[in-house]
């Protein structure tokens, strides 16, 4: 397991905390999956913030604040600074959204914000695309983790661009990478781990399932299976059949 800014996570599953039917169901999802990281946000105080913070603290997991909903580098930087004070962590899931329909990262705003935040000592988890040039720029800016998307946030489509993700993984073999967003099924998470990604981050697929705690557990098992499979060095695919039973010694009948 690779380190994320010096932290080795016991479990490669990171879970969001939004959209659950109740706080109790969210707690069950964390308990039953053993997820190691919880993403959280900052919103205008309307009376529920204090109770929510108590629930998150009781989960006993690492907290990864996000800058969700920010559409400019300036907004994201201000939100990150507020989040650092609030959650007492240098970790920040940096989202700078470039398009309202696809919630696609704005690569220019993302890079600008990442440069500012890493200079200020933040440990940035940039929500990015599979673009290799952007990945290199983010690394040059001081990011030591990348979070490429699987598919648009909340779409549940899985790994939308396998080729691009495979190329990204191969281009930066030493960089810890989290597949963030777009996963809908445990098989998607297993596939990401089989490809050599280091963790997955998801929210909707678990929170909106009929039984979120069971789905969280299913994702945890899939992540574990994918991780084991990657470490076991999977065979490569081939187009033609190759008999697995020995041909030599077959009877003449």
């Amino acid at each position: 397991m690779r380190e994320f800014y010096g932290v080795t996570l016991a479990n490669a599953l990171m879970l969001g905390t939004a959209q659950y039917p109740s706080p109790a169901v969210m707690q069950a999802a964390f308990r039953d999956s053993g997820a190691s990281v919880a993403t959280v946000s900052l919103r205008r105080e309307a009376g529920q913030g204090q109770a929510f913070w108590d629930i998150i603290r009781d989960l006993g997991v690492r907290v990864l604040p996000n800058t969700a909903g920010c559409h400019s580098a300036r907004e994201a930087v201000t939100t990150a600074r507020m989040a650092r004070e609030m959650f007492e962590t240098n970790w920040i899931k940096l989202e700078v959204i470039g398009h309202a329909d696809t919630l696609q990262p704005d690569p220019f705003g993302l890079l600008e914000a990442a440069e500012i935040l890493t200079r200020e000592g933040f440990e940035v988890f940039p929500y990015t695309t599979e673009d290799q040039v952007l990945a290199q720029r983010l690394l040059d800016a001081g990011c030591r983790v990348l979070m490429p998307w699987g598919a648009p946030i909340g779409s549940g489509l899985g790994l939308n661009n396998r080729y691009g993700l495979r190329m990204l993984r191969a281009a930066f073999p030493e960089v810890p990478m989290v597949i963030d967003a777009g996963l809908g099924l445990p098989s998607h998470a297993a596939e990401a781990m089989e490809m050599g990604f280091d963790a997955v981050l998801l929210n909707t697929a678990v929170a909106q399932a009929g039984d979120p705690a069971a789905m969280a557990r299913a994702f945890a098992l899939a992540v574990q299976a994918g991780q084991l499979a990657h470490a076991a060095d999977p065979m490569g695919p081939r187009d033609m059949a190759a008999p697995s039973t020995p041909v030599i010694g077959k009877a003449w009948l």
Binding site: G16, V40, L42, R44, Q48, Q50, T78, R81
Partner: protein, 65 residues
């Protein structure tokens, strides 16, 4: 004076951000603040004075993905 608090115009007697938080009922609350779009650390709230028309954002921990 009129201050914009989380997008709502409020009439406040407070002279500083710390006093404004007290006046708004957020004494001791776990909140993060921004004034006119810039982060305002908790340590600066007591000395940061308010001016007519300032935009104050008071944020709390919330669910996120």
């Amino acid at each position: 004076m009129r201050i914009d608090v989380n997008g709502e115009s409020r009439e406040l007697a407070a002279a500083t951000v710390a006093e404004a938080l007290d006046e708004l009922g957020w004494t001791g609350a776990r909140v993060a603040t921004a004034l006119n779009g810039d982060f305002l650390p908790a340590s600066a709230r007591a000395v940061q004075t308010l001016r007519e028309g300032d935009r104050l954002e008071v944020l709390a921990p919330m669910q996120g993905g």
